[in-house]
Symmetry: C2
Subunit: 378 residues, 2 copies
């Protein structure tokens, strides 16, 4: 089956990105970001490497988006196979059922854009020996073969894998972006983690200790999580948009964006690190950051760029001049821990008609420490 | 080339949706929405028909999402061809360059899910004779062949096509959802239009009269609009998510959601109809709605569903019980016209570092009428 699909003729490699506006140029609409005043140096994307852990409903779409954007290199980690049961999400096609997700993804991505270098690892990073290889690839995975990858994206579906990525990135002092979609398919989030500067995944774990229920457990019991291509596509889009902002230096990289599909509500906030975090490398990174508090957050909206000749005026899709405007500060700059935790694990009960908050996380104004203390009593 | 791609073996048709949790069931993760308490009757999606106008970066992804969700029927309208220059967005693949967008889409969508009926129209709906056929298909396009389609999605890239859809839907009294992405690729929106009840596309046109610049004009001049698979994927995701909420009766269908990528800002609001709208069918629908003010908005969050046995408790992606919660009312229920208009056409100037609002739409508290009056003076 894969042979048949590989028999299709794609396009040849392209040595250098061009901004020429011709129908045959797959990069013209991306290079236009320079003329539009959004990105200063789009071509640098060809020198960047992104590692993606989990090539499921979010990870595969994230990989396709980065591939179509012309990323230099992708390193894909997964140990699962494609199934027909995955066909309700974007990316994989029915003839790929039975293939490993990384092989199927690699074949499709290379066909879409042969300029991207794809490295695949069909393995479970939570296994001890595989974890070492995982760390090695994060450290040496760049195109040159001796530098770290530029960013790590977590698109996994279970707590254990998130904790493994967290442990690795704390140890290596590596920035990563975590993503997730709820089992009822109608909410999701992305969270940027900067070791020592923001909460790590272990600093602010789920409000109730994880019960180790993952998709495999659910399937054994004859049930499965719900999923939707919409929610997963939106989460992948937010994940890669922030990846592009981070890699290509534009806009503001969000520390957290939630998505509640039932109401189209997208909360944004930031969580500070927990001084009682149980990950010793997190504590080490926190001490380093306190000693040298140089932020690694990427906020190019604040930058006073002297090299620019003046305010940029863009045109919208109707051919109309736009005025510059910023979002309300209280929506994007909310650093209240309690509000953040209150909303992150929220879901709305559709059929009951009742929209009460649960009592466990009801009160505004609680600190992270209060919440952690309450969790421990559960 | 398309013959080679059709030679791939997909899956056979499936007579009825099943919730059986086996790897070979492409609908198991969707049917799980019932058990999760999100959707009461998922199978009804098989009886629904959606018309999509514009099969580009947003429309093609919207079509794929609906196809993977198992929609009954799609009617696709476009008159463009696939080009390599489209490869920076999701969906089309390099071997489809040269094919009409509707044919290429139909082939891929049928391969992904042969259960979906796909009807294609390779034509420009803004041409007078084609517009009549377009109206006829909206009126008779259902699976039974004698009923209207269930929803119309606008995914076009120019003002003229939007005005044609608007005219048709006002005349037919048809609900539609409009979508758009800015030419600088970093903002977008969706807007639900209910004739007579909300502003139509002609009620609240762009703040400055459209200068008729579309992609074709730009290309002739050797420039092109920028685009990103991220922004288009997010807009398509929001569009189809609201389509699913509308068709399957869950959550709250948003009247407007904006997306500003630079800051991850998603404004939501609603615009009332303009009593001076120049579309006579809009004025007729407004009179009808005033005479019989029965709302067609779909807000299933408010419904007091007596048939439900009690509050539903969901589990999130970590296997944790979630508490129900709603978004702040002031974020999702904002009906202030002036605030809406102030934000809709916002863009952020990246390189200038200046974030001033333009003076034309600066002041809060202006009415739609004030703004329209100011526009006319421009």
């Amino acid at each position: 089956m894969s042979a048949a699909s590989e028999a299709r003729s794609g396009r040849g490699k392209i040595a250098a990105m061009s901004d020429e506006v011709v129908d045959s140029n797959p990069y013209s609409r991306l290079m236009a970001l320079k003329r539009m005043g959004i990105v200063e140096d789009y071509e640098q994307i060809r020198r960047k490497t992104v590692a993606i852990v989990g090539i499921g409903g979010v990870g595969s779409v994230a990989a396709e988006m980065l591939t179509r954007c012309g990323i230099g290199k992708l390193i894909l980690f997964d140990y699962d196979k494609v199934e027909l049961a995955n066909m309700n999400r974007l990316f994989f096609q029915p003839d790929q059922a039975g293939l490993s997700k990384v092989d199927a993804a690699s074949s499709t991505l290379s066909f879409i854009n042969p300029d991207v270098v794809i490295e695949t690892h069909n393995m479970n990073i939570t296994l001890m020996d595989k974890f070492e290889l995982f760390l090695e690839r994060l450290q040496k995975g760049s195109l040159s073969g001796d530098q770290p990858v530029d960013l790590v994206l977590s698109c996994v579906d279970n707590f254990e894998a998130r904790m493994a990525i967290n442990k690795g990135c704390n140890e290596l002092n590596h920035i990563w972006i975590e993503s997730g979609v709820s089992e009822n398919a109608v909410s999701g989030h992305i969270q940027t983690i900067i070791p020592g500067e923001t909460a790590c995944f272990g600093c602010a774990p789920p409000l109730v200790v994880a019960s180790q229920i993952d998709e495999r457990t659910l399937k054994r019991e004859g049930v499965c999580a719900a999923s939707l291509p919409t929610t997963m596509g939106i989460v992948a889009g937010m994940l890669v948009q922030n990846t592009l902002k981070h890699l290509l230096c534009f806009g503001r990289v969000s520390m957290y964006v939630g998505y509640s599909a039932l109401e189209d509500f997208f909360p944004t906030w930031e969580i500070r690190p927990n001084e009682q975090c149980e990950d010793r490398h997190c504590l080490l990174r926190q001490r380093e950051f306190r000693a040298h508090p140089v932020s690694r957050k990427r906020d190019f909206l604040k930058k006073d760029d002297a090299a620019t000749s003046g305010p940029t005026v863009h045109e919208d899709d109707f051919g109309i001049e736009l005025v510059s405007e910023t979002a309300p500060a209280d929506l994007t700059d909310d650093t209240q821990v309690s509000k953040g935790l209150r909303t992150e694990y929220a879901a709305t009960s559709t059929h009951s008609g009742e929209l009460d908050s649960g009592d466990a996380v009801e009160d505004a104004g609680e600190s992270l420490e209060d919440l952690m203390a309450r969790m421990k009593k559960m």
